[in-house]
């Protein structure tokens, strides 16, 4: 089973430790090393990117490391890829120029 890591108990996202395809059954490991959850992915997610562990409503906070890393700009379902398309910083937005470069990749 493929693995994602949840960095703190209150997190609503985890990070992929390997490449995930749609429908993959995954196990969520905690920083202590134990398996805390298993479910299926809804979207492909590359290594190092985040997956939602719970449904996150538009405007709700996204939590990693037990802290806010931004807010959801649309409804995010459990198993979705969480990144710049559905999460925005509450501190300094990523400049449009940089986002354009990323989209061109």
């Amino acid at each position: 089973m493929k693995r994602v890591i949840k960095m703190a108990p209150e997190d609503n996202v985890a990070t992929a430790l390997e490449k995930l395809e749609v429908g993959d059954e995954i196990k969520v490991v905690s920083e202590k090393g134990g398996v805390v959850d298993t479910f299926r992915t809804l979207q492909p997610i590359v290594f190092g990117h985040k997956i939602a562990l719970a449904t996150i409503a538009e405007g709700s906070k996204v939590i990693k490391y037990g802290e806010y890393i931004g807010e959801a700009t649309q409804l995010i379902n459990r198993g979705d890829h969480v990144h710049i398309h559905n999460l925005k910083s509450l501190r300094i937005p990523i400049p449009e120029k940089v986002l354009e470069e990323v989209r061109m990749e």
């Binding site: 693995r3 890591i5 960095m7 990070t15 992929a16 430790l17 490991v29 920083e31 202590k32 090393g33 590359v46 290594f47 190092g48 990117h49 985040k50 996204v62 990693k64 490391y65 802290e67 806010y68 890393i69 931004g70 969480v82 990144h83 710049i84 999460l87 925005k88 910083s89 509450l90 501190r91 300094i92 990523i94 400049p95 940089v98 986002l99 470069e101 990323v102 990749e105």
Partner: protein, 398 residues
């Protein structure tokens, strides 16, 4: 907290404890660099360091404070200061501060000695005598409260916030719980992590100092230019916001309370007054940042990376911790701790953290790091531009 754990170090006259026995040959002005190098290369335990701000710069008080801080670092057993004779930063400015530590300090003026060749000769003679003196020093056991570890990350990638940084954080918690001090810096990497850090400050005063230091750095890097706090590589790697990036970086400082913010100004370069976790008002530039930490008293620097790091510091061993399994395979000749096992599911963050903790104690007791014996090193001092700070209405004084 009294701990049964000990490390084996060299006691200094002021009661501090070195993990190495290094004689520092200081080019107090950059034109003396060649002389310093010639002297140091003749004596195995000597290293040459230079400050490159030269003469006629403003803000050199901070440079003197950082260089003196490095010389006062417990890893340094004795110091030879070199001046040309006409420089604005005379050896005596450094000497006054360094002498407070009680360690042997001597100085030479190239002009008074009658030129470069005579200064080299006399310098070698002095440093060889210093070496004879320190060679009698033996390592003795000391409590971990005599240990200060600097924390730095660089060449970061998507694994940094998942493996190497949190594992180092576990080791830092263990160090702090055993009475040691740990120092992290890089205020620019704390932007977006203010809330998380604020919750961890011991007092309101520490919180205010911390927020001031971070906000000052943000002003420096957003004035007159557009700095990309998030680059394309960060985002492609999976980081979605500045908060996420900063929190991943801060993770290397563990979870204990922040006991203080150390000032780094024209007035003073502070060292931790006791054990605990401290934030230093330094820079994020790799080499200069490590020298910041050494000036603040760190005897060892723990460096987390996704790629590796080719530099050595000369004055404090660097333990390299790599969280990327591919990079570890590629760079294992350089990397001391493989944290890539977390990504591979072979070890937990806790387990790697414990390994880091024990490796730190081993290195403190004399075990060489993988790159330590190569005999090269990079040294550079960073000081903020006082003219810019004045224009922005900000101050390094806390």
């Amino acid at each position: 907290v009294k701990s049964i754990l000990k490390f084996m170090g060299f006691e200094r006259p002021d009661g501090s404890v070195g993990v190495r026995n290094i004689i520092l040959v200081v080019a107090g002005v950059d034109c003396m660099e060649g002389v310093a190098r010639r002297i140091a290369e003749k004596v195995p335990s000597a290293v040459a360091v230079t400050q490159h701000y030269s003469c006629l710069h403003v803000g050199t008080e901070q440079v003197v404070n950082i260089m003196s801080g490095v010389a006062k670092n417990p890893n340094i057993s004795a110091v030879l200061l070199l001046g040309m004779g006409c420089e604005s930063l005379k050896p005596k400015f450094y000497q006054e501060q360094i002498a407070e530590s009680g360690k042997p300090v001597k100085s030479l003026s190239c002009y008074e000695e009658g030129g470069v060749k005579k200064t080299v000769q006399k310098g070698i003679h002095i440093v060889k005598e210093m070496e004879t003196q320190i060679s009698t020093l033996k390592r003795k056991p000391f409590d971990l409260e005599k240990l200060t570890i600097g924390l730095k990350c660089g060449g970061s990638d998507t694994t940094s916030g998942l493996a190497a940084n949190p594992a180092l954080g576990v080791a830092v918690d263990m160090l702090v719980d055993n009475g040691a001090a740990a120092i992290f810096t890089e205020p620019i990497e704390a932007i977006g992590g203010e809330e998380a850090l604020s919750k961890r400050t011991k007092t309101q005063d520490v919180k205010e100092r911390l927020l001031k230091v971070i906000s000052n750095e943000e002003k420096r890097y957003t004035t007159g230019t557009e700095v990309e706090f998030m680059c394309k590589g960060n985002i492609l790697g999976g980081l979605s916001s500045i908060e996420e990036k900063s929190l991943g970086s801060i993770h290397k400082a563990g979870s204990r309370k922040i006991a203080g913010v150390l000032e780094n100004s024209q007035r003073i370069v502070e060292t931790p007054p006791a054990g605990g976790l401290y934030f230093f008002d330094g820079t994020h530039f790799d080499v200069q940042s490590i020298i910041n930490l050494v000036a603040a008293g760190a005897q060892i620097v723990a460096y987390t990376t996704g790629w590796g790091a080719s530099f050595e510091s000369l004055v404090a061993p660097i333990i390299r911790i790599c969280g990327n399994p591919e990079s570890y395979e590629q760079m294992k000749a350089d990397i001391d701790i493989n944290a890539g096992t977390i990504i591979q599911g072979k070890e937990s963050i806790e387990e790697v953290g414990q390994r880091i903790f024990h490796e730190l104690i081993a290195v403190a007791s004399g075990k060489p790091t993988k790159l330590e014996d190569l005999g090269y090193g990079t040294f550079a001092i960073y000081r903020e531009d006082p003219a810019l700070d004045r224009l922005l209405g900000i101050s390094k004084m806390l």
